[in-house]
Amino acid sequence: MIKAIEITKNFGKNTVLKNISTTINKGEVVTVIGPSGSGKSTFLRCLNLLEEPTSGEIYIEDRKITDKKVDKLEIRKNIGMVFQHFHLFPHMTVLDNVAYAPQKVKNKTKAEAEKIAKDLLAKVGLTDKEDAYPNRLSGGQKQRVAIARALAMEPEIMLFDEPTSALDPEMVKEVLDVMKDLANTGMTMVIVTHEMNFAKEVADRVLFLDDGVLLEEGDPKEFFEQPKTDRARDFLDKVL
């Protein structure tokens, strides 16, 4: 479903990603881990073209999205994204946050969009917050709204960029639970995270990035128990 071929990304003289190739299958849950500055987020952001790879190719289904002529907005309709710092629209109510994009991007009527939004907010357990503004919500609630907002576009792929890193510890679980439910529905998910237990438990595959290089890739159980590289072993010793 997603095929990355030798992606390289430079920021000026800095090479952040070095020849990364991988394939992510439909319905697969992939977590991307690694030390900070290893290029995890940049890799994720390349997948919906928030960053354009300097070289290399990315295919989604059979479409080459790194083609210059491709309509980025068209591609992104199909890929939801959840950010570390939520990025909810602060001047809109929770319901409007979720119902906005279906109206503007998919030309749904207000009633249709609000129905979708209400269903999703019910799923993430926030029905009672529909009329609240984001500033009134806790971090965990904000992130759940952000997930609902991305899902409202009915994407086939969901990208998560450190979704729990900005949360107080006691709110991490409520967000991870929503993500687990989502994984169980067969959603294709790529998750940059520092939650090793979540990666162990939920992921079908783990990618380990270090200094822009995809060092290891494989089954979570194997990776966490017997990492192949010294660098991964060293990293796991520090975080586990």
Binding site: M81, F83, P134, N135, A150
Partner: protein, 219 residues
């Protein structure tokens, strides 16, 4: 001190009409400045060098020369160049609107830049096109932040409007001068005009406060 307001009593209706004369072109100028200023601000933040250069040059010219000079150039030069005898009213709107756009564009540009970059990314990630993203997401947040600065600009424009008296437009200021010449007493009509300007700005400030409170609803 021998203040005598009794003599200007018959002239009061004449002076009050000046309020509308002033307000009429000030309101149109503000709207023109706001619309043009927003467009210029959008030009300034694009990656298209031509549009950016154009908007920067525009701002440089209109901020770099006196407003009264711009007003006179429009009023006197247009007939000379085109043969069209431009009315004082239209000259005033053009000079104030075009001039205000230069200032407003800088205020709005700063406002847009101050909106968290994550907002643009969130909208882009959802596939929202540029226009609705700007209109529904970025500009409402930008305007909320720059409202005090915008109000300041509107207040300045309202007061500076008095210089249209120099091209013979019958605004509040000009009427005060006419009354002064008529009764050989300048102090009283000027004092009255001053009071009226103050009341107008006071009301404008209050409107601004109400709008600001409304926009802070989501805080």
């Amino acid at each position: 001190m021998n203040l005598d307001f009794s003599q200007i009593v018959p002239y009061i209706p004449f002076m009050l009409e000046g309020i509308w004369a002033t307000l009429e072109f000030v309101i149109i100028s503000i709207i023109l400045g706001l619309v043009l200023g927003t467009l210029l601000a959008l030009c300034k933040i694009t990656k298209v060098p031509f549009l950016k250069g154009l908007a920067d040059a525009y701002t440089s010219i209109f901020r770099g020369t006196p407003l009264i000079l711009q007003l006179m150039i429009i009023y006197f030069a247009v007939p000379q160049l085109t043969g069209y005898d431009i009315p004082a009213f239209l000259s005033a709107i053009l000079a104030f609107g075009l001039n205000s756009a230069a200032y407003v564009s800088e205020i709005i540009r700063a406002g847009i830049m101050a909106v968290d970059k994550g907002q643009t990314e969130a909208a882009e990630a959802l596939g929202v096109p540029y226009r609705p993203m700007m209109l529904n997401i970025i500009l409402p947040q930008a305007i909320k932040n720059i409202l005090p600065a915008l109000m300041n600009e509107f207040i300045t424009l309202t007061k500076e409007s008095a210089i249209v008296s120099t091209i013979g437009y019958l605004d509040l200021m000009r009427r005060a001068q006419i009354v002064g010449a008529d009764i050989y007493r300048n102090f009283e009509p000027l004092l009255l005009a001053g009071a009226i300007y103050w009341v107008m700005v006071f009301i404008l400030t209050r409107i601004g406060q109400v709008v600001e409170r409304r926009m802070r609803q989501s805080d």
